[in-house]
Amino acid sequence: MTREGWIRLAVVVAAIAALEVACRTGMIHRTVLLAPSEMAVSLWHILAAGELNTDILTTLRNVLMSAAISAVLGFACGAIIHALPRVRGAIEPLLASYYAIPTFMFYPIFIVVFGVGSQAIIAIAVLLSIVAMITATLTGLDRIPPVLRKTAHVFRMSPAARALMIDLPAAAPYLFTGVKLTFAYSLIGVIASEFILSGAGIGYAIAYAYNNFNNQRMYGLMLLVIIVAIAANTALDAVDRRLQSRLRR
C-alpha cells in the first residue's frame, strides 16, 4: 500500500474511534446515535436471525436489475444519439441539466402505473441512472482516436466488424465509468424509493425501524447500506482506474 493509502486508513480509523469514544462517554446521547461497535453487533444479529434477508435480497436484486437495464439501454440510446448529430444537438442541453430535475417527483406516477412493488422502484432507479450511461457512451464514442477509424478503413472492415473490434474496445474505459455511475445511482434510486413509499426492501426496513424508535435495528441496517455502497464502489473504482491507466499508455 502507498503512503497515502496508510494515511487514509489511519484517518478513517481515527474518525470511527472518535465516534466510538464520543458515544461511549455519553457526549452523544444514545437516542441520537449508537456507537459504531454497537451498530456492527446489531447488524450481526440482524444477519444471523435472517428475518430481514428477503428485504436485503429484494433491494440488491432491484439495484442489479436497474443497473443492468440502465447500462444496456443507456448504451443503446447513447449509440443512436451519437449517430444522429442533429438529434444530439437538441438533446445535449437537456442532458446537461437532467440531474437538476428532481426525478423522485415522478415516483408517485410510476406507483400508479406499476403498483407498489419492485417495478415502480426499478423504473425510478433506471430514470435516475440511465442518463449517466448515455453521457458516458457519448464521451466514449467521441474520444475514439481518428487513427483507429482510418485503420479500420484501410482494412476494409464492415461497419459491424468495426463496431465490435475497434469502437467497442476503444471506448470501453469510458463505458465502464458509465457502468460504475449507473450502479451508484441505481443504489441511491432504489433505496430512496423504498424509503418514501414501499412495502419491502432495506430502505423500507430502515424507515419502519425509524418510525418505531427501533434505533438498534435502524443503525444496523444503515451500517449495512454503507458497507455495501462503499465495498461495491471501491471494487468498481479499482477496475475503472486500471482501465483508465490503459488509456494513457
Binding site: 437538476a100 430535475i101 408517485p108 435502524m218 447500506v225
Partner: protein, 242 residues
C-alpha cells in the same frame, strides 16, 4: 439559431410523447399536458402553494449557500496540499456515492423535525460534489502558478484568493451546478419523508390522496425551475473569460 429551433422541436416532441402516454394510460394515471398546466395555473393563484414554495425555497437557499461556501473552502483546503488531496479523494468519492437517504433518520434525530433538518440534508447532498470538483481542479493547477506565488511570497490566504480560486473557477462552476441540483433534491426528499410544509410535503400528501394532477403540476413547476436555473448557470459559465 438552428440549435434553438432543434431544442424547441425536442420540447414539442416531449409534449407529444406525454400526450400519447396520457392517451394510453388514461386520466386517473397520468393527466394530459393541458390539464396539468391548467392545474398549475390554479395552484399558482392560491396562497397555500406560494407558502409551500417559500418554505422549500428558504430551505434550499440556505442549503445551497452552505454547500457552496463549505464545499469551496473544504476543497481549497484539501487541494492545496498534495498529500491531503490524495488521501481525501477516495473518501469524498465514497461519501458522494453513498445513498444519503439512509442517513436521514440520523439527521432528524440530530436536528429535530423542522427546517434545520431539511437544510442539513440538502447541504449533505450538495457540499461533497462542490468540494470534490474544487479539490480536483486545485490539484491539477499548473505548478508554474504556484511557483509564481512563491516567488512573490504570497501568504496562503493570498494564494487561495488571488491565484487558486480564479484559476479553478470553471471547474467550481461545474461543481456548483451539480451542487445546485443535488441540494434541491436533498431538500425535496427530506420534505417528502418528514415534513409538514413545503413542495415535497405537498407531493407526498397528494400521493396519499391519489391526486395525480397536483403531483404532475408541482413536478413540472420544479422541473422548469431547475432547468431554467441550470441554463442560467451554464450561461454564466460560458461568459467567464478564460
Amino acid at each position: 439559431m438552428r440549435r434553438m429551433s432543434d431544442f424547441l422541436i425536442l420540447i414539442v416532441a416531449l409534449l407529444v410523447v406525454w400526450q400519447g402516454l396520457h392517451a394510453i394510460a388514461g386520466d386517473t394515471t397520468l393527466t394530459s399536458p393541458a390539464a396539468t398546466f391548467v392545474k398549475l395555473g390554479q395552484l399558482m393563484r392560491t396562497d397555500q402553494f406560494w407558502g409551500n414554495v417559500a418554505e422549500t425555497g428558504q430551505a434550499f437557499a440556505m442549503a445551497l449557500v452552505i454547500s457552496l461556501v463549505g464545499g469551496v473552502s473544504l476543497g481549497t483546503l484539501l487541494g492545496l496540499n498534495r498529500t491531503s488531496g490524495v488521501v481525501s479523494e477516495p473518501i469524498l468519492i465514497a461519501l458522494y456515492s453513498l445513498p444519503k437517504v439512509t442517513l436521514y433518520p440520523l439527521v432528524l434525530l440530530c436536528f429535530g423535525l423542522g427546517i434545520s433538518a431539511k437544510v442539513a440534508f440538502g447541504a449533505m447532498h450538495g457540499l461533497i460534489p462542490v468540494a470534490l470538483f474544487t479539490m480536483k481542479a486545485i490539484m491539477q493547477l499548473k505548478p508554474v502558478y504556484l511557483r509564481t506565488a512563491q516567488a512573490l511570497r504570497l501568504s496562503p490566504a493570498q494564494v487561495a484568493t488571488t491565484i487558486a480560486l480564479p484559476a479553478v473557477l470553471p471547474e467550481v462552476m461545474a461543481g456548483a451546478r451539480l451542487g445546485f441540483s443535488l441540494s434541491l433534491l436533498g431538500v425535496l426528499i427530506g420534505e417528502m419523508f418528514a415534513s409538514k410544509r413545503g413542495l415535497g410535503f405537498m407531493i407526498n400528501s397528494a400521493m396519499g390522496l391519489g391526486d395525480i394532477a397536483t403531483i404532475m403540476a408541482v413536478a413540472v413547476f420544479l422541473s422548469i425551475f431547475a432547468v431554467t436555473a441550470n441554463a442560467l448557470l451554464l450561461l454564466i459559465d460560458r461568459a467567464i473569460p478564460r
